[in-house]
């Protein structure tokens, strides 16, 4: 199993509950905004603490409320691509990409499929939305993740950019063979990229 997630979380006045056991490939959390999809990603990444439940990814227990296990985010090896990219504004693209391993030379071959070689000396504020998202994917990949969390990776991009990023995600799913947990509210996107689709209701 790549993702085994059972969790409950009360956030404000809504309850998020999810019970999911997924094999290899890409798993899509699909549902309207407000269903708590991003909160699920945050809980898998360790940025938000579930009230109860367990989170296991690729056989490793990241969180288990009853056993008192709660790995800090830096030990979960999540490659989290945030919807808003969250590039570090005070670091150039190159240093954003190298953030996880500042001592390592930048492994451009590994992220060649993203087409960001030309952007290395730019500041994040000088990137378009599509460029920023590709850099964010590259930064996550270069952290040697054990799995990927993608939050609306195709939202607010034009058709050409959506195609580029879709191809990149397919590459990660089929060539790098990383387990992927992806959030979307777009049915076409879900059908194209997902091996299985988990509906979440608001």
């Amino acid at each position: 199993m790549s993702f085994e997630i059972r969790l409950r979380k009360r956030l404000g006045d809504r309850d998020i509950a999810l019970d999911l056991a997924a094999g290899a490939g890409a798993t899509i959390l699909f549902g309207p905004s407000g269903a708590g999809k991003t909160s699920v990603l945050n809980m898998v990444a360790g940025l938000l603490r579930p009230d109860a439940g367990t989170i296991r990814v690729a056989g490793e227990t990241l969180f288990d409320a009853s056993a008192g296990i709660d790995l800090p985010p830096e030990r979960r090896r999540a490659g989290y691509v945030f919807q808003d990219a969250r590039l570090f504004p005070h670091l150039r693209v190159r240093d954003n990409l190298r953030y996880a391993f500042p001592g390592r030379p930048l492994d451009l071959a590994r992220i060649a499929f993203l087409g960001i070689d030309q952007l290395l000396d730019r500041w994040p504020r000088a990137l378009s939305g599509g460029e920023a998202r590709r850099v964010a994917i590259g930064r996550a990949l270069l952290s040697d993740p054990a799995f990927l969390l993608l939050d609306e990776p195709l939202s607010s991009l034009d058709a050409a950019r959506r195609e580029e990023i879709s191809v990149a995600i397919e590459h990660l799913r089929d060539v790098a063979r990383l387990p992927i947990l992806m959030v979307t509210h777009d049915a076409g996107e879900a059908r194209r990229l997902g091996m299985r689709i988990v509906p979440m209701d608001a």
């Binding site: 360790g46 830096e74 570090f88 504004p89 996880a100 952290s143």
Partner: protein
């Protein structure tokens, strides 16, 4: 343009202001962090207490410092017994007074700059494998730095202008505690001191103006998301 004695006053003021900053900055940063990033019972009281020097008459602050650092006072006795020193009538005492008066301004500026740091970026750094200490060093501090520097410069300007608490606490001793404002005050009491008042006042205004401009430029940088280092 300035006489040798006047230069000494300027240098003494810079020394007092610089020492005040050196001691106050880490304390101000720690307090700003507590206020910006933590919740605890009595937080509003701590916040109010830090701001007291801004609103209490400086002469009261000076008197309280005098009580604390007098030979029989708690801090005065401690310093005397541990290091065999006293800060009374010394430039170190002037630096303490200046530091206390600068503290609220610095805490305010640093707190605002810490609050302006996007916590989600810190979360992103954690998911990339960074420990909380590394996140602080590589994300939080660089992003807050323009605001921290702006607050520091502002605090320095405030320290240079300190008058009431200083003269109450450590008196007006030439060469020790007679900083720019105190020297101006003394010159005003002397017949024929007008020229000196004019020159020292001009220096004071120039230093304050430079500090305010520097602080404003740094604060604007922080606001634009442009970073100093």
């Amino acid at each position: 343009m300035l006489t040798a004695a006047e230069w000494e006053i300027v240098l003494l003021s810079l020394q007092v202001g610089g020492a005040a900053l050196l001691v106050t900055l880490p304390i101000a940063f720690a307090l700003a962090w507590l206020l910006a990033r933590t919740t605890f019972p009595g937080k509003i009281l701590l916040d109010a207490a830090i701001h007291l020097p801004l609103v209490v008459p400086p002469v009261v602050t000076g008197w309280l410092l005098l009580l604390a650092f007098a030979p029989a006072g708690p801090l005065g006795r401690l310093l005397e017994q541990t290091f065999g020193i006293s800060v009374l009538f010394r430039w170190t005492g002037a630096a303490i007074a200046a530091g206390i008066m600068a503290l609220p301004l610095m805490v305010r500026a640093i707190r605002l700059s810490l609050e302006a740091v996007d916590r989600r970026l810190e979360g992103a750094a954690r998911t990339l494998g960074a420990s909380p200490a590394r996140v602080f060093r590589t994300i939080t501090l660089p992003l807050a730095l323009p605001g921290v520097l702006a607050g520091t410069v502002l605090g320095f300007a405030r320290a240079l202008g300190e008058f009431g608490a200083t003269i109450t606490f450590v008196s007006n001793v030439p060469g020790q505690t007679q900083t720019l404002p105190l020297a101006i005050y003394s010159a005003l009491q002397q017949p024929g001191g007008d020229a000196m008042v004019l020159r020292l006042s001009a220096i004071s205004v120039a230093l304050s103006l430079a500090a305010l401009v520097a602080s404003e430029l740094l604060a604007r940088r922080a606001g634009r998301g442009v970073h100093v280092l």
